[in-house]
């Protein structure tokens, strides 16, 4: 192989690892958007649901030795229930106060609570399980791509497709979109807004858990990864424009790839600084994000 070929294969290797991380950021970003659209709250506990997905899957699959699909279903059920409980017990009693600071604090409190529960159950060790499919990694121009990476990217795009269908084709999905545009008008049209809020927490908990299930065989999962995932997901959502789903996908992949290239070509230690730098740059120059508009942000309730 010549030098350029080696360079190309190294670049592709970084690109694919960036896409993998980016897929997770995109999913976290999308789930942040779903809750944000129905409540104007950023759920700072979102990252914990990703951790819950990975650790829960490990528990059912490796510890209880259950079949793959059953473990998968049980994990997302647990996540959905926790999302529901979170909304019922902490969001619903406080949201009427319409106090942004209070809502931020309560999602932080829930994130600490979830982190504490996860540590209580799983301790501080990292966990992983076997990739979804056995088999040789795929070789593309000298870059070695494990099959799990394809799974992560495939699952991400399938989820995006499903959500698109849900929000555009089903009555419930349309009702959720109506709430995000104008809660009062939606209520007048007979939409049960508080049920929509609950649903948005459940859906975003499930998306988070699926992201965690898919990524854990590659990156391992431990109890305290949630906070940094929330920051990255939020950065992804802001990059693309808070509230827009295609924005979160774009922002997520962009962030993932930039991080991976920074880690590969500059220094692995400053990988995590990329997200904050991007976040600050966007906040400074185009706060509405790449696909968002200023007017949309100004219309928000909180």
């Amino acid at each position: 192989m010549g030098d350029t070929e080696i360079e190309l294969s190294v670049f592709l290797q970084f690109l694919f690892s960036g896409l993998t991380a980016g897929a997770v950021y995109a999913l976290v970003g999308i789930s942040l958007n779903i809750v944000y659209n129905s409540t104007s709250i950023i759920n700072l506990a979102q990252g914990e649901f990703v951790v819950l997905g990975g650790l829960g899957m490990w528990y059912f699959l490796e510890h209880l030795q259950l079949p793959f699909f059953l473990s998968f279903l049980l994990t997302i059920t647990v996540a959905a229930l926790l999302g529901l409980l979170m909304e019922r017990l902490t969001i619903r009693p406080l949201i009427k106060k319409a106090n942004l600071l209070l809502m931020i604090m309560v999602t932080i409190a829930v994130s600490i609570l979830l982190k504490g529960l996860l540590m209580f159950k799983f301790g501080k060790d990292p966990y992983a399980y076997a990739p979804f499919t056995e088999g040789e990694p795929i070789n593309i121009f000298g870059a070695v791509i494990s099959q799990q990476i394809l799974w992560v990217i495939g699952i991400t795009f399938s989820l995006i497709l499903l959500l698109n269908l849900f929000f555009n084709k089903t009555l419930l999905g349309k009702a959720m979109r109506a709430c995000s545009l104008d809660t009062k008008a939606a209520r007048l049209m007979g939409i049960n807004v508080s049920r929509i809020v609950m649903l948005s927490f459940v859906i975003s908990a499930i998306i988070g858990a699926v992201a965690g299930i898919a990524i854990t065989p590659i990156t391992l999962m431990e109890y305290d990864k949630g906070a940094i995932l929330t920051v990255k997901g939020f950065t992804a959502a802001i990059l693309g424009g808070l509230g827009t789903s295609k924005g979160a996908v774009f922002g997520g992949f962009l962030l993932g790839i930039l991080e991976s290239l920074t880690a590969g070509y500059i220094h692995s230690g400053i990988k995590d600084a990329v997200a904050l730098l991007l976040l600050l740059i966007v906040l400074f120059f185009k706060p509405a994000g790449i696909f968002g508009s200023k007017e949309v942000i100004k219309l928000r309730k909180l």
């Binding site: 950023i42 700072l44 017990l89 902490t90 009693p93 406080l94 942004l100 600071l101 209070l102 931020i104 604090m105 309560v106 932080i108 409190a109 829930v110 600490i112 609570l113 979830l114 982190k115 504490g116 529960l117 540590m119 209580f120 906070a227 940094i228 929330t230 920051v231 939020f234 950065t235 802001i238 220094h267 230690g269 400053i270 995590d272 600084a273 997200a275 904050l276 976040l279 600050l280 906040l283 400074f284 706060p287 942000i297 928000r300 909180l302």
Partner: protein, 309 residues
Amino acid sequence: MAKRDYISLLIFALLILCFPVFVQDNYILTVTIFAAINSLVALGLTILMGYAGQISLGQAGFYGIGAYISAILSLNFGLPVVFSMFLSVIVSALISILLAIPALRLKGHYLAVATLGFGEIIYVILNEWGPGGPSGFGDIPQFSFLGYTMSTLTEYFYLSWFFVGLCMIFSMNLINSMAGKALKSIHDSETASVCIGINVSKLKIKVFVLSAIFASLAGCIYAHFVTFLSPSTFSLHYSILVLMMVIIGGMRSLWGAVVGALIITFLPEALRGFKEYDILVYGIVLTLSLLFLRNGIVPLIEDLFRKKA
């Protein structure tokens, strides 16, 4: 300052002066010094949250910057401790301005996540490039002033609580000034504040910088008291602890910061048996206090006294 502010300061000063006379237990004195250091950080966050309605999850970052810069300047460059502390606080203030200008232009969530990210990045930087890396470094000079070096616990007790008193007086003056009244109005309604001619974003930036100054000052005291630093002290966990101090003490009350800091600093000692599960205990305490004790402990006590009177 109001009359009750003077009275509360007087009681505070008396308690601090008498405490080491009655309590000579080294262990309790040490924990109380840490409580004073935490009070400083919490006081800054109380003003930011309770009076400007903004949130920061990155106070550990400023705390860490303060500690590391002062330690490095005095240890490696041989600067007098007072001078290194001063420089370190200035640097933290400058960094906080850089962070605040983009982040404060928008509403709450942006600041929460930007500061959360900021704290994480400082943590990463301290781990990667801090002296000694993750394991940290020691032999930091003790606090000295005009040629006198402090070495006993009692001296550090008075020093740390002296700074708390100083920052408290400063904060009380701020709250009672025009700026304080403007701040209160920001907390209640930003839109209304803008309408009556308050420069909201400038004021928010000032308060954010003030909270960073208090946190870095606390970091300096920590560095020269403990004389050993490692990054783990300055992780996100600490920012969350400070947030808990503010919420539990009561973010609408300056003394709430001190009460909250005392409770949260002594809590792990009371919960020694739960050491492994401290995060869970913190999560439960924080969630419950947000749901049922939203104003915190100090306003609750004040209400009790008022009813009796």
